[in-house]
Each structure stands twice: as structure tokens, then as C-alpha cells.
Amino acid sequence: MKYLSHGLLAVSALALTTAFAEAKTFVYCSEASPEGFDPSPYTAGTTFDASGHPIYNRLTEFKKGTTEIEPGLAESWEVSEDGTEYTFKLRQGVKFHSNDRFTPTRDFNADDVVFSFQRQGDPNHPWHQYIPGITYEYYTSMDMPNLVKSVEKIDDYTVKFTLNRPEAPFLANIAMPFASIVSKEYADTLEAAGAKEGLNNAPIGTGPFRFVAYQKDAVIRYQKNADYWGEAPKIDDLIFAITPDPSVRLQKLKAGECHLMPYPSPADLESIRADDSLKLDEQPGLNVGYLAYNTTVAPFDNPKVRKALNMAINKEAIIDAVFQGAAEPAKNPIPPTMWSYNEAVEDDPYDPEAAKAMLEEEGVTDLSMNIWAMPVQRPYMPNARRTAELMQEDLSKVGVNAEIVSYEWGEYLQKSMEAGRDGAVILGWTGDNGDPDNFLSVLLSCDAAKEGGANRAFWCNEEFSDLLQQAKVTSEQAERTKLYEQAQVIFKEQAPWLTIAHSTQYVPMRAEVTGFVMSPLGDFTFENVDLAE
């Protein structure tokens, strides 16, 4: 057993290591600390990996490795004709975890569902502000307060959601970690004990793993939930060893101090591939990196000018230099792994000559513009400054003089949404729930083209927005697909963005790890993993 024993203590620890290995322990070198363990008030993926996924379940779940919806704590559901009423039949016999201050006396039921949603949606709910300053930003940003009219218990195992309008992505929304089901009985117990914050630091859920302990910024420990309603985990103990630096994570992986790690540095990929004790999973990420023109300002209000600029920029060169090959060029605003991706759309070719001619045809000469380069690294954009420099160079070849500007991240996000903004903005998006609406409406609809939205092209195309609206109220996925495919055609014609790339996600792990399934949503879940002998 080489793993989890090292030099100085190898001999003394040998006996324990063996005992340790018998209870199968899986160590994940996570990249950051969770904000807390109540999945509803937080928005970071790291937090969901540590709370929502291992500890909790939702009414609907994403099928492993896909963005398709499957039954979770709800066994089945019915949607009313007009698409505003969802009636869920709940799974019976589902047990909540127990800890030293709580042992459940009943199984999961409708009260837990009603409680889990009302505490987020109703500002007067006694658990809405159970910790001062707590807010439900994901619930709010998915527009749930305006969408959900009521959540009612019909009987112990039936719950009805009434919506203010039909919304096809609703089933995907409630599969997201913020919609995890917490125990009302546990909340009552905590309230009686005057220890409400227990909901956030001593979580109780129905998920595949039971929370054991968290040592801040260091280690999170979980144990397999022996009573899990789904397929029981194959490992006994799950440990998150919080390791912020990617090079150190890799060293730990190589030394056998952990079994799997997220987010390797692109520079390390070669050495990972060369190491026999490791393997590397990869898949295209559910993201897009783009350059958004301000379509309300001349000459960028002219689609032909935007198209010409798109043709002037060499995407392949950006992918080679900035992504180190770990991305594919983007032609649509949604990634190819997402349903309704329009394969038929043709990308604007890289053709500086033609671009220059097009600009001249439109009477655009001596154009000067700003390119905004974000100051942070994101999965969809590893180095915005370098990308901007490459764009600058390409544009200079067609006679466009580009200046690079940047701001502090918070300011960048705010200023880039100010009306009349000068220049084109490099930014991107990582999907929340795998629904195309979560890309197209959030980033390109007329509604999002105002302050507080995220449509940084300020692009408002009635035809495009109508298609999105239609798709939103249609529940049939085949029909929605057609509408979104059409929308992508309009997007390409109008070219509000230069679509840059969809980056690839990599997950290095030790060779003995089996059963790990990469999630297109970028989640790390471990109920299926195992360690080969």
C-alpha cells in the first residue's frame, strides 16, 4: 500500500495504513474551501461539490455524465396542460442522516420539500434569515422568486408547485444544488435547541455520504450513507484534502496522498500523461469564451462590421497559444455537448483579406477600438490579456487599431454592463443546469441587455428573443430544439459576439480509481467511484 504512507512515518504507520485501506478511503484534493454546508445560500461550485452533491438530493437529478433530468427524491411528476402546475410524487422510505444531536424519527416527506423551498422564497419564513446576512442568490438569480407562485403539500408524498408562467427549464432548475432538500425535522430540532446555525455547519441530508467533520481550510470528512436510497457508494470514507495550488495538488496525487484532483495547470498535462501511475479524463466543458461587441454603438451596430472583425481574428492561434490546445473553436454561443447545438451553422472563416475588403465596403477606415481583457483566470478563458494581445495583432493587419483595457474584476463586471460602453469585452460563461436557455436567455436576450443583466453585447434582436420565449414555454424538448437551432442561425448572421472557444476540462486521477464520471456541469461527485485492488 504505497498510497497514504510516506517516508518518515512509513514503518510506524504501516499497521494503521492497512486498517485504513480496509475501510476504503477515497481522498479528493479539492481546490478551495466550501463557503458553508447549506447548499442554498451559496453560489460557488466548490461549495456544491462539498455540500449539495455528497450530502443532499434534489427532487430531480442530472443523470450522471449528462445534463438530462432523471427522477431524484421525486419518483415521477406531472405537468399541467398550460405548463404552470408541476405535481411531484415523492419517493418513499428515504432516510435522512443522523448525527450526535439528531436522529430522524420519520422518513423524508412533503414537509421537507415545502420547507426547503419556502425558506428560500419567502422573506418572512422563520428560516429565511437563520444566520444574519444570509441570502439565497442562486434561487434569486434563477428568477425563482418571480417564477414560483406556491409550493403546496397535497399529501405526505405529493407536492404541487404552481408557477406564475410556463417555464420549460424549471425541472433543470430544481436539479441544481441550491434546490437540495433539507430536513424540516432537523431544522425543528435545531430551533428547539437554539442552534439554528447547525443547518449550515452540521448538515443532515439524504445523499450518498454523511457529513462527519470539517476542519476549516484543511479537511472535510464524510462517511458512506449505509441507508442510501440509491445505489450505495462503493467507498467507505470520503475525504476532501483542501489544496489550493494546482502544482501542489499534482505532487500530492503523484505521491499517493490523494486519488483525484480538479483543475490541473495546462502546463502539467504532458507530465500527467507520461506518468503510468496516473490517468487523465477529459471532456469538452459546458462553457463558452467570447468577445462581445457593443452593438448599440457605431460602427459596431452594423452586423457586417462585426462579421468582418470576426473574420480578422485567428481563433486557432488563440486556442494554441492561450488554451495550449485544450479547447475547441466555438461557432455557436452554446457548447457542442449541449442539446440543440446547431451543427449546421457555419463559422465565419478566418480571412483577413476579405475582412479588410468588407470593412472598406462598409466605409469603416481608421477604426480604433478598445478590447477589454478580464483580470482573472476562468475555465473558459485562461489568459484574457494574452488573448487580447493576439486579437490586437490580428486586427492591426486589417487596419484596426485596438487598445487593451482592464479593470479590477468586480469593476470589470459592472463597467462592462454600463450603457454606451466603449469597446468589445472578453468574457465567458459556464452553464448552471445544462439547459440552452441558461446560455441564450441569460447572455443574449433583450431582457438581459440592461443594467444588472449579462448581455454584454447589448444585443436585442426581437426575432431571436421571441424564439427563446417560445422555447421557454414549450415543454416538448424536440420542439424546443428546433427553436434553439433557429436562434443560433440568427445569432451567427447577426454576430453580436466573436465566439472564441469551448475549453476542455481535465481530471487527473490515480490509475487505481474506477467509476469516476465527469460531469458536463463541472461537478465532482464520488458516489460511483471505487479503488481497484
Binding site: L4, S5, H6, G7, L8, L9, S12, A13, A15, L16, T25, V27, S33, E35, G36, P41, T43, I131, P132, G133, T135, E137, T140, S141, E197, N200, N201, Q215, K216, D217, A218, V219, R221, I239, A241, I242, T243, P244, D245, S247, V248, Q251, K252, K254, A255, E257, Y407, E408, W409, G410, E411, L413, Q414, M417, L427, W429, E451, G452, G453, A454
Partner: protein, 335 residues
Amino acid sequence: MVRFLLSKLLYLIPTFLGITIVAFGFVRILPGDPVLLMAGERGVSPERHAELSAQLGFDKPLVMQYLDFLGRLLQGDLGNSLVTKRPVLDEFLALFPATLELGLCAIIIATLIGVPVGVLAAIKRGSWFDQVSMTSALVGFSMPIFWWGLLLIIFFSGYLGWTPVSGRISLMYYFPEGTGFMLIDSLMSGQDGAFASAVSHLILPSIVLATIPLAVIARQTRSAMLEVMGEDYVRTARAKGMPSRRVIGVHALRNAMIPVVTTIGLQIGVLIAGAILTETIFSWPGIGKWMIDSISRRDYPVVQSGLLLIAGLVMLVNLLVDLTYGLINPRIRAT
């Protein structure tokens, strides 16, 4: 001695007030605000932004916010983190022992090696030992900590496999937190090998964190010794025929120690700065990493109160250093 102590304490009050202003102002001078950072790429509507700012108390004028902060501070309330929603003091107390443990180890290493090296280099001035040690000190002083830490990990943990890569103790040991000092807790746990594991995890981070202070202490000791050894009383002592060991050990070293103690005291600030990087490399759950994370998230309460706590500690150490002078040299007590 009591008057000496009181006069020192009196100075601390205005200093402390000054620090509250700096701590409060520092994070607010940085551009960006926590609400925007929380919302990220998605953006937040102006109404929601105003609502959240009001909820966090950021809508009030800065002076009012400062007075609120000061008022709560006087009641011992350091506020809650915007991110974790937990009291800042709780987080500090949970993380501080890790930093203290690492810092103490580092300062002990730096002193135990730095002082003798400095003394020896001074006595054998110009020798190969002097040259090698002082050149190494210069290199150590200029060492980029992050690179140095990674280099040690790759060599000792990766290549040789002698030391663990990161963390405070092997994950197979699990016992409830007692004091927060892993060396003590692992001993008290009674688990076989736990203490050895904690020690092995401390080695590399302590060396990395000790590097800069060690270099500074060695250089300072050498120059202080050289200065003192040129003084009249040392020459007199030598002239009286006093054994060299006694001249150096008693007359020279004792007087040379005053600037050295000051230097060691000042290294506490350097240690905290170094802890930020060292803790990040070695996944060490201490306050250095905590502060960096909080600054990047603009977690105002954590940054302002955290800075205050750290500054308070540095002040306390400086006070102890002042008191130590008194012990080393009674004349300072009188002035």
C-alpha cells in the same frame, strides 16, 4: 519596571486607533465591491444590488460604517464573514493556532541557526565560512518563497519521498481538535505515529518560512558582533587576559544581542507576510491564506478585523521585545 510597562502600554492606544482606521480604510480603497464579486458573470440588478448593500450595511456613509465598526469592536464584536457568515473571531481562533505553530517553529529554526552562524561568521571574519554563510544568507533573503517551497516539495516529497507534500497531518489520523496545535493534539490523541506524522508535515513549511528570517538574523548577528567586538570594553577585556570564550560569550554577545532581539522581533511581521505564501503552497490552514482569500473576495469584515487582530499581535510582540531589552540591559529600563 511597572512605569516602563505602563508608558509603553499608553503608546499602544493611539497606535491601535490608527490601525483601526488603516484596517477599515484599506479594503475599501481597493476597487470592486463584495456584492458584485458574489454575483460574478451573471450580474446583479441595481435594485438587488442596493438591497444587498443595505442588508450588509454598506449603504451608510463611510464615517458611520467606521463608527459602527468601532462601536461593535468595543463590545468585542468583530463582525461576521460575508462569505461564510461565521463570526470573524471564531474563524481567527480556529486558524490562528496553525499559523502560530508554524511561525514558532520557523522562528526557532531561524534563531537557533541564524545566531550561531552570525557569531561564527563575525569571529572568523573573512574566512571561507564567513563568505559562504553570508552569500547563502543573501541568496536566502532574496529567495522567491513560492518557487522555493515548490522546489523543496518536488525534491523531498516527490523525488525522494522523505516528507509529505502538504497538510498538517496524515489523513488517516482523525481526532477531535483540542488546542489547535497539531503537535500537542497529536500527542494527546495517543494514536500511534500521529506525533511523528505531525512533525514530518511541519518540516518543509517551517524551513520555507524560516528562510528569510534566518538570513536576516544571521546577517544582523554578524554585523552587531563585529561592531561590539571593536568596542573599547572588549579590547580592555582582552587586554586583561580574559579567555576569548568569555570575552565573546559574555561581553560581546550580550551587547550584540540587543539589535539581534529587535531583528527577531521584527521578523514576526515578516513571518506573517511569509505565512501567506507558505500556507498557500503547503495547504496549511492558517490566517495567512485566510486573509488572502478574504481580500480577493472583498470580505470587508474579515479583512478589517483580521488585520486588526494581526496588528494587535505584532504590537504585543514588539512590546515583549521592548521588555526583553530591559532584561538584557538594565540601563534601558531606567530611560
